[in-house]
């Protein structure tokens, strides 16, 4: 069996990684150079000083891992597949437990040393930026790998993977992109702490490179560790949710809307026109401005939809062309006031006075507030938002027997009632740090959540959504069943464009770019392209789109720190996004049956037949 020897190779590789990489870094300078712990002895190229640290357990761990690797290597040669699976499950569990034990011992040792130092009169804890590192992580991933391998031994293992291919393919693509990203970083940057070190041996060199790669990803994922980071991540995620939904809505209807950037721009124009110039009470302008953002995007995508429905013109090319036309429209409106057409002077009122190309300010009533100002207006916690969310979810779940339309109506009413009740309830004073209140995480996130719900209920719970999906899967069959194809194409593009246009609520109405409530010439529109990565990674499901947006929100937020600390451009995240798109496009380099539904069904049937045969044999054996 080839695969068994392949597994032996993997085991050897795991051991090599464990011997070479740092397992944990108890302290690290701001520039990233760290004190690297390894069972074979510490690696400390930057000559950092370490206080007394209880680390006697570390070399012992290596022997445990070696024993585990040997046991796993042997386990795969066991004759009976059920026993093989059982042993692999146990070993996988042990591996994960070992990792947890290492983490526990390490953090205990570090905390003890820091407490002791502070007690002895140190001004601040001597150990900073400490964390587990690659050598330990490898063990954890190996543990999960063993569990999966155990499942694969049993009949139906391949079918199990194929059934969850909606998760397997994006995760494998993510893993591959992370690996390629790591290689890029390792090639481009010197290892951490080697800048001033003399006489670098091969061991130091490799350990420092592996440390660099690990620390890069630790920084990228670090925003999940505190509230400020989470707020910042969600702020980055908001435009991605809208843009991802826009692309996914197109995919589901069989259309490729690559025109996100243009639709975002026109959404911004719509929001600006309504938000700056519309007279009337604040709340009305607020609502109209949001609708205008959606309308702007819908209009722009609708052009491509109409051209496809009416003339059969390819929507991919047309939406790309519209992106560039939109860029010209934006410049035309906000970069200058005075133009000449064949000698006739034309004056446009939109650009505000000043050097920068930007519109007038959105009127105060139409501005979308920061989430923190909704949660704790004036430093006083308000129950309104939490109650509204809880009431809405509770009523929706509680009324499970009701017909869907009424259920949603009731949930909507509960949200409003909860909000009003929360306004009346007495809150309490909370301290909001300036860090937190300076994050531009605004209410458009709530709109994004509503958009996710709309996407779910419209596409998967309504008859017109069903028809759209039918058009996407099999246009000919849908048409034969009485669906008006041309009309559906226009509707799909309108909705898709409206979702993209709503990105402008974050950037323009919510001042998500830099805190100014204006439409700027420099309006960021990249989200339109990144929406493709989000839709692919989220496999066009609402939950998947949210998770993918949140993931990239975290990475984008972490990337700002990356640049400051390690001098790696934040465009590393852009590269990761591109790689993910590419790896999902090639089906994660997995066999065809992971991407082709027909072949997937074939594999599932084959595996099930084999499982049935084995069970029949087992029953017969018992009978004899």
């Amino acid at each position: 069996m080839m695969s068994r020897y392949l597994f032996l190779g993997v085991n050897a590789l795991v051991l090599i990684f464990m011997l070479l990489s740092p397992w944990a870094v108890p302290t690290r300078e701001f520039d990233g150079s760290g004190y690297m712990l390894n069972p074979l002895g510490a690696i400390n190229p930057a000559a950092l000083k370490l206080p007394d640290l209880h680390l006697a357990w570390l070399p012992m761990m290596l022997w445990l891992w070696v024993a585990l690797l040997l046991a796993a290597s042997g386990a795969l040669f066991l004759p009976d597949e059920r026993n093989r699976a059982r042993v692999l499950y146990i070993l996988g569990g042990i591996a994960i437990a070992l990792f947890l034990l290492e983490a526990l011992l390490f953090y205990q040792a570090v905390t003890a040393a820091n407490t002791a130092a502070v007690a002895a009169g140190a001004r601040r804890p001597p150990l900073r930026r400490f964390a587990m590192s690659l050598g330990a992580y490898v063990g954890l991933f190996y543990g999960f790998g063993l569990l999966l391998l155990g499942r694969m031994q049993l009949p139906g293992g391949r079918a199990f993977l194929v059934r969850y291919r909606g998760m397997v393919v994006p995760l494998v693509a993510l893993l591959l992109s992370v690996l390629v990203g790591a290689v890029i970083v390792a090639i481009l940057r010197p290892g951490l702490g080697l800048a001033n070190a003399q006489a670098i041996g091969l061991r130091e060199f490799l350990a420092a490179k592996l440390d660099l790669v690990t620390y890069t990803y630790q920084i990228l994922f670090s925003p999940v560790l505190n509230l400020t980071g989470i707020f910042s991540s969600l702020a980055f995620a908001t435009p991605l949710i809208f843009a991802g939904l826009a692309v996914a809505f197109g995919f589901k209807s069989g259309l490729f809307n690559i025109g996100g950037p243009g639709q975002i721009t026109l959404g911004g124009v719509g929001a600006m026109l309504a938000g700056v110039y519309m007279p009337g009470p604040g709340w009305l302008v607020f609502i109209v401005a949001i609708l205008a953002a959606a309308a702007g995007g819908a209009l722009w995508a609708g052009i491509a939809g109409w051209l496809k429905a009416r003339f059969g013109a390819n929507e991919v090319i047309n939406t790309i062309m519209l992106n560039y036309i939109a860029a010209s429209v934006l410049l035309f409106l906000v970069a200058n006031n005075d133009y000449k057409f064949f000698g006739h002077a034309v004056h446009l009122p939109f650009k505000a006075a000043g050097f920068e190309g930007r519109s007038e300010e959105i009127q105060p009533g139409a501005r979308i507030p920061l989430i923190i100002d909704l949660l704790a207006p004036g430093g006083h916690f308000s129950w309104a938002l939490p109650l509204a969310v809880v009431a809405g979810i509770a009523v929706y779940i509680g009324l499970g027997r009701l017909e869907l339309g009424r259920r949603l109506l009731a949930a909507g009413t509960a949200i409003i009632a909860g909000y009003l009740l929360g306004l009346v309830l007495p809150g309490f004073a909370v301290k909001v740090s300036t860090d937190l209140s300076s994050i531009l995480f605004n209410g458009s996130f709530l709109l994004a959540v509503l958009a996710l719900l709309f996407y779910h209920f419209f596409l998967f719970r309504s008859s017109s959504g069903y028809e759209l999906r039918a058009v996407g899967l099999a246009p000919k069959a849908a048409e034969y069943a009485g669906v008006n194809l041309n009309r559906k194409i226009v509707v799909a593009m309108l909705v898709s464009g409206a979702l993209a246009g709503l990105v402008a609520t974050h950037y323009v109405l919510g001042a998500g770019v830099d805190g100014t409530f204006r439409l700027k010439q420099s309006l960021p529109t990249d989200a339109g392209f990144f929406g493709i990565a989000i839709a692919l990674m989220g496999q066009n499901t609402p939950l998947g789109i949210f998770m993918a947006s949140a993931l990239f929100g975290v990475l984008l937020s972490g990337a700002t720190t990356l640049n400051v600390q390690l001098g790696i451009s934040r465009d590393l995240v852009t590269v990761l996004q591109a790689l993910i798109i590419m790896f999902i496009a090639v089906g994660g380099l997995l066999p065809r049956y992971f991407t082709d539904p027909l072949k997937a069904a074939q594999v599932e049937t084959e595996d099930r037949t084999r499982q049935d045969e084995l069970e029949a044999k087992a029953t017969k054996a018992v009978g004899d």
């Binding site: 890029i184 009416r310 090319i317 035309f332 392209f529």
Partner: protein, 304 residues
């Protein structure tokens, strides 16, 4: 008169990168592979050329040497070809959606150069200026044009001859129209497609080199500014024919030249002229200005 001549030269210059890229795209699309990643391949080529030349200048001590820009051009062409090979593997071997794969390359081309620039020059938007540019030729004392401009226009009859007068060209067109029929006649469909896509990347890389070390003397973030897409538009506008492509790129080049010439003038705002190529392409696609029909098998993965 002087303005007309200036406009003429400017048009030739502006059309050159479009022409290289569109002629490349012609091979790819004629073989049945949509190459929406041309924009990214231009950027990769531009970055590789500018950075390559700058590194060579450092290595040789900053001297003026006639061979350096040509090696830089080679870097650009190879880089474009390499990226195109990735697109080819994805869309031919792994049957990836060709639009998705091309989009991935375009996004990669936004991010990857700036990571390298950050490491080499400590900023994410420009590379260091170089002295060894691809040389210009003086045309009858009226103006200067890069050698690559002449190469681009000489390429048009060559591509026409390859596509329509050689057996290889016939096979290529057959692969893009009826791959199954071509296969039964003994044509290696997969091999033809790989070759065609890589040619398109090489030419897009040359277009990038023209931008960074011919037209300018450094790489600037996102310097192609949509020219890959205009080239794609020229391909449609020119009805997938070398002569049509030549006409379309000259027209679009004229628009770009006009947008520069008329800046601050009182005929039309330049932002509107800049949008004209895109608007025209949409009109062509819709069939308002003559119908344009793509190769029949374009965009479809081929199964043996």
């Amino acid at each position: 008169m002087e303005i007309i001549i200036a406009l003429f030269f400017s048009t030739l210059r502006q059309a050159t990168p479009l022409l290289f890229t569109a002629l490349g795209g012609l091979f790819s699309e004629r073989s049945g592979v949509v190459n929406i990643g041309l924009e990214g391949m231009i950027l990769f080529g531009a970055a590789a050329s500018a950075i390559g030349v700058q590194r060579l200048e450092v290595a040789t001590g900053g001297v003026q040497a006639a061979w350096i820009p040509w090696v830089g051009l080679l870097f650009g062409a190879l880089m474009g070809g390499l990226v195109a090979a990735a697109h080819a593997v994805a869309s031919i071997k792994y049957r990836a959606d060709q639009i998705v794969s091309g989009t991935a390359i375009n996004i990669l081309a936004i991010g990857a150069p700036s990571i390298v620039l950050q490491v080499l020059y400590n900023n994410t938007s420009t590379s260091q200026e170089v002295v060894n540019r691809i040389p210009d030729i003086n045309v009858l004392g009226q103006g200067h044009l890069s050698i690559l401009v002449f190469v681009a226009y000489l390429l048009v009859p060559l591509v026409w001859w390859i596509l329509f007068k050689t057996p290889w060209g016939l096979r290529l067109r057959a692969v893009g129209e009826q791959p199954e029929a071509a296969e039964t006649m003994g044509v290696n469909v997969i091999g033809m497609r790989y070759t065609a896509v890589i040619i398109s990347g090489v030419l897009a890389g040359v277009a990038g080199a023209y931008l960074s070390i011919g037209f300018l003397n450094q790489f600037v973030r996102n310097m192609s500014a949509g020219q890959g897409f205009i080239a794609l538009a020229a391909l449609i506008f020119g009805k997938w024919h070398p002569l049509g492509v030549l006409g379309a790129t000259l027209l679009f080049g004229l628009f770009r030249a006009l947008a520069i010439q008329l800046q601050g003038g009182d005929i039309l705002p330049s932002v509107i002229i800049e949008a004209l190529p895109y608007i025209l392409t949409m009109l062509v696609l819709a069939g308002f200005i003559g119908r344009s029909r793509p190769p029949a098998a374009v965009g479809k993965p081929y199964d043996k």
